[in-house]
Amino acid sequence: MMSLFGRNAPCARTLFTSATHKGIRAQGALLQVVFAAMLALAGVVHAQAIEPMPFANHAQELRFQQLTRQLRCPMCQNETLADSNAPIARDLRNQIFQLMQQGKSDEQIKQYLVARYSDYVLYDPPLQPSTWLLWFGPLLILLGGAAVVVIAIRKRNRSGDATTEAQTGNGDDW
């Protein structure tokens, strides 16, 4: 018997994955109600995610907002720390605020979080052997596509000169 709610209630992501994970049984109707409620509450939740903090100045506040937007909430993995309303996101925002007061740089704060929550918290994944495919995969696919196009054009040009008219004439050209 698994609960509909994941490990932490206020997190859309957990709701969704736990329902799919444990098999959607008679939960369809319940899910619809929950999603309707979430839609209705979306505005409220967003407003709650930003609580006032005693920033030293406006520049620091901007830096805080920029930094928390670059970091992923470990609980609700489709939300940034800035947006998420999960308890852990609130705690981490407070922790980031404290570290800023201690004079830590953005890089040091990111390292602090990576040491505890791994690279998952970074929206910008570091370039390392395990992420090579992620970084260069699209380029490989692009090159593969380019190769296919070049081969196709060459083939057409070679056989094409004499028979172009015939090919276009019989509607073979898609």
């Binding site: 018997m1 698994m2 609960s3 709610f5 994941g6 490990r7 932490n8 209630a9 992501r13 957990t14 994955t17 994970h21 470990p74 609980m75 993995q77 999960a86 308890p87 852990i88 705690d91 981490l92 922790q95 990576v114 040491a115 505890r116 929550y117 791994s118 998952y120």
Partner: protein, 180 residues
Amino acid sequence: MSRLMPLFGFLMLVALFAFGIWWNTQHDQNAIPSPLLNKAAPAFNLPKLYEPDTTVSKADLLGKPYLLNVFASWCIECGVEHPVLEAEGPTLGVLLVGYNYKDTPADAKRWLGEHGNPYKLLIADESGHTAIDFGVYGAPESFLIDAKGVIRYKHIGPLTPEVVANELKPAIASMLKEAP
């Protein structure tokens, strides 16, 4: 042959997506691999739940392996996990330490009164501040910590009988074999 190319492309996409669906049923999308695995557990000093004036530190627990189980009264899946801890706790061969996470002591005690208390030792982290050092981001989570204070295994989410039998107990066995 070239007329079949789009079909091949389509079939390759089907294979890719089918693999993706299969992969997602085999892996918990929300589980983050802990960077603390096989590293020294962070230092902590937290009050006991039932004796708030006494604190327990990491140094106090060195010398004996223990399973640190993060739970809270507000955590719904902890209720799912609890009967497993009650049944399997005494058979694990390590100390079962309860880590009450972001909870009020009154709620935690009431919850333990209702569900039973399988823990040999209970510590309370009301603010959740120490839990950040452990990389905790929800409850339940469980850490297997050896006699030297090194994290040997971590499970995110409720411990089920399958997880206990297939992952936790083998991890405990290999740990005890190494350092009896």
